[in-house]
Symmetry: C2
């Protein structure tokens, strides 16, 4: 059985749990602390060079890091990733947008504000991350106005990836009131068969 | 013929130029200013939702954004991207590492320090980006010690992507003296047939 080195409050880990749930694939979750990072290197560095979760361990022991790389790997030949070369490139475009323009801003601001409660230690960075996070949300709002999902008519791993930290953006200090298309999209994602919440029991 | 919305000092654009050179594919480069960003929205937003370069425009007019998505698209069925599902996932793992742990730190610090000369305006962010940039370089140094390229024996788009901002890390304030494996890898990348420099004429 596959193993997932996992952390419940991490949106990056949640993406993988959400796709695994859609696919109905069983796995063994191993909880890693995202706050106390003392044992990270010894625990994870031989499984992922950057010693970060999520890490997917296949049944033959090979391991894969980076949430969006894991999504692409698992989604191959499933309805969550198109077959066509250009359509697949369009999905990966959104996955790289997520890791470059969205996650480094919204996930980190949320971590400081709502997970470790230390936002006031980083005033200049918090301001920059909230500004850039707002820009990322505006790009999505504008793009989702005329279409149900990020790449068009179909729910893909692009939506799974961007849902993870968008639906908790208020925990970063970015309320979603001014983003009606984004809120309608969040609801469409929640309505997909096999959807699971980020935190168990919510 | 394909068009590339391009900017010469941008490492993200350089990645695409480097792969196009390896592949011997002709293209029409259109220079976009990375410093004066006033006309960005009107010029680029209908080609890439985030209005950033590089953007690849195919001969049928379809456009693709995000440097690493363009690399994956162009590399399909070429020697620069493996065929096997897991081997390809390993390449994409490094591409996401690049956009999340490497580029947001090293590229932005370089932009502030050596392109617009305003590093002193962002002291807290500069410190954080140099610390995180150093961590990314250390991950690569450690990983490259026993292997010639990031995914093993073979030069792939993972190496192309990470070369772009690693070879100019000193311009960000991150000298490479303490990274011997990284410097040997930079030389191996430069030695590949079809290699081109970032700046024309250098």
């Amino acid at each position: 059985m596959m193993r997932l080195y996992d952390s419940e409050p991490s949106g990056n880990c949640y993406k993988v749990r959400l796709l695994l749930s859609h696919l109905g694939l069983p796995y063994d979750p191993i909880q890693i602390d995202v706050i106390n990072r003392q044992n990270r290197q010894s625990l994870l560095a031989n499984k992922n060079p950057s010693a970060r979760v999520p890490i997917l361990e296949l049944d033959d022991g090979r391991t894969l890091g980076e949430s969006n790389a894991i999504l692409l790997y698992l989604a191959e030949n499933t309805p969550y990733l198109p077959d066509g070369r250009f359509e697949r490139a369009r999905v990966t475009q959104w996955l790289f947008f997520e890791q470059n323009s969205h996650e480094p801003n919204i996930a980190v601001a949320r971590y400081w504000k709502s997970i470790v409660h230390q936002a006031e230690r980083f005033p200049e960075q918090m301001r920059a991350k909230l500004d850039a996070g707002r820009t990322a949300l505006q790009v999505m709002e504008h793009h989702l106005r005329p279409r149900p999902f990020l790449t068009g008519e179909r729910y893909t791993v692009a939506d799974i990836s961007l849902y993870a930290y968008t639906h908790v953006a208020p925990e970063a200090g970015l309320p979603l009131d001014d983003y009606p298309s984004l809120r309608a999209w969040l609801q469409r994602v929640k309505d997909q068969p096999g959807h699971v919440s980020m935190l168990v029991g919510t």
